[in-house]
């Protein structure tokens, strides 16, 4: 997800670009977009504000699209998507959302995504997809090429998407839309906020309670300002988004998961519902089912360095006696933990919580232990 833009291509702007500039954000290239990495108060303050109050994130760079069945049948569109991802789409309730992965034939992960069964009247047989910004062109091409006749992909490049995250998110949204604020985790609704039509889901990627709100691009700035007008809400950049999701133990595509990792190695079995585990029928099912049965040879684990020094992505992991057993895929400083945190892949035999490991940082071994994730407890409203 963090691939820098190709240098000779102009950067894209989200519908909220001018808002970030006006707030004094430091803008950086991210997945082809000019995005705010932080605002003037800095990443630590933004991170802590989100954990204690509510943070507002511009995630309009992510890819929003609809899968539409011509025959208006949920079963038709669900079966089409189930051929590409291992989640149970068929049994989604109206307005229910699920996290899943686009899988390659060898079980590697092409991208991770959110899928929602659209509940709005007149949209029977529609699924709403949100994919990573850096992967959207590849994802759309991949999906398009594999759709059966009668199901089409409708990309929505002109929408805005923002996330309101943190313990105050519910109280803030209650004032603007009690209906949206009453949603339960991973459910969504179509509501009006300040006269603006929005699709709101109770979800996010920080480990906190919160909402993701999609609206027309031309309405995004007005909605952004309405949310920011609440003194509990501050704008939060990509820097804190990364430290928040790392503490929450959530995967970042291109780092913690990619085409070389399977969902089982990545610890994402919870996102593959029972029916799909048993029936298969998705790309890479043979590998996924084998790894469920026999265990994967390596697994994603949380890692807590024992000192103060962060271990970054790419740090080699060894046993205390120097045997190389894995690699760090995300690592940095966790402001809520108030210390370094990391995640990475290690061999199965050294993956138990509490196992002593070394992380090789600048040539020196740093003592660390396998740690339970999340590092900061999830506070979802279930």
């Amino acid at each position: 997800m963090a691939e820098p833009a190709h240098s000779d291509e102009p950067l894209l702007k989200t519908p909220l670009h001018a808002e970030h500039v006006a707030l004094g954000a430091r803008m950086v290239p991210f997945a082809g977009y000019d995005m705010p990495v932080q605002y003037p108060t800095g990443i630590l303050t933004e991170h802590n504000w989100t954990r204690e109050h509510a943070g507002l994130f511009d995630v309009s760079h992510m890819g929003q699209a609809f899968l539409v069945a011509e025959d208006k049948s949920h079963e038709t569109v669900a079966r089409a998507l189930e051929a590409l991802i291992p989640a149970d789409v068929l049994n989604l309730k109206l307005n229910q959302q699920r996290y899943s992965q686009l899988l390659a034939d060898d079980g590697g992960i092409l991208d991770d995504l959110m899928v929602t069964r659209v509940g709005a009247p007149g949209h029977e047989g529609w699924l709403y997809l949100v994919v990573n910004a850096s992967m959207k062109e590849q994802d759309y091409a991949h999906i398009q090429a594999r759709l059966p006749t009668g199901v089409s992909l409708n990309r929505k490049d002109n929408l805005g998407l923002m996330a309101l995250q943190g313990p105050s998110a519910e109280a803030v949204l209650t004032k603007l839309s009690p209906e949206a604020a009453g949603l339960s985790f991973m459910m969504s609704a179509d509501v009006q906020i300040d006269g603006i039509w929005c699709h709101v889901s109770r979800s996010g990627y920080t480990g906190e309670d919160g909402f993701e709100i999609s609206c027309k691009g031309e309405d995004a700035a007005k909605l952004w300002r309405a949310l920011l007008a609440d003194p509990e809400v501050k704008a939060i950049g990509l820097g804190a988004r990364d430290s928040l999701r790392l503490e929450a133990g959530l995967c970042l595509y291109g780092h913690d998961i990619d085409t070389t990792t399977s969902p089982i190695e990545a610890g994402l079995i919870w996102s593959i519902q029972k029916r799909r585990r048993e029936e298969g029928g998705f790309p890479g099912a043979a590998r996924v089912q084998r790894e469920i049965k026999d265990g994967a040879s390596r697994v994603r684990v949380g890692i807590k360095p024992e000192g103060r020094a962060p271990a970054r992505e790419g740090s080699v992991i060894t046993t205390p006696d120097g045997r190389e057993v894995g690699i760090v895929t995300s690592g940095g400083f966790g402001p809520t933990v108030n210390g370094p945190v990391a995640m990475g892949y290690v061999a199965k035999d050294v993956s138990a919580v509490g196992t002593d490991l070394h992380l090789i940082v600048r040539g020196k071994p740093l003592p660390a232990k396998v740690a339970a994730m999340p590092f900061a407890p999830h506070r979802y409203k279930r």
Partner: protein
């Protein structure tokens, strides 16, 4: 007392045959919140341009290079417990190390306060 700057945004404030080394206010602003500092051991001999320390923000790790050659005679061990001092007071309490210079003429190749101010303007 003279203060000189490098293009990598270290400063050295020289008094007699030793100099206090740190990073500039511009550098701390670019790094953002400093969360960890790794200092060299006292007695270590550095050549100009050697990696002398590491400063880490939430986002990334950056090297601090020796602005001159010399021996590390003192380090600011308070940074281990309070790395944020680098942001709060980079030119004062946020210093990194004291180096005894072995070749004072190396200072001539560094920028003065005024030159450094122009340099920062040219890149920001």
């Amino acid at each position: 007392m003279t203060t000189r700057y490098t293009k990598d945004h270290e400063y050295i404030r020289v008094e007699g045959d030793a100099g206090i080394v740190g990073i500039s206010d511009y550098a701390q602003g670019q790094l953002g919140d400093v969360v960890f500092v790794e200092l060299p051991s006292v007695g270590k001999t550095l050549s100009k341009g050697d990696e002398a320390a590491v400063v880490e923000s939430v986002k990334a790790a950056s090297e601090v290079y020796a602005p001159v050659s010399g021996e590390v005679v003192e380090v600011n061990s308070e940074l281990e417990a309070s790395p944020g001092t680098v942001n709060e007071d980079p030119a004062g309490r946020g210093w990194f190390m004291k180096i005894r210079l072995t070749n004072e003429s190396e200072l001539d190749g560094l920028m003065t306060e005024e030159q450094y101010g122009e340099f920062v303007k040219s890149i920001s």
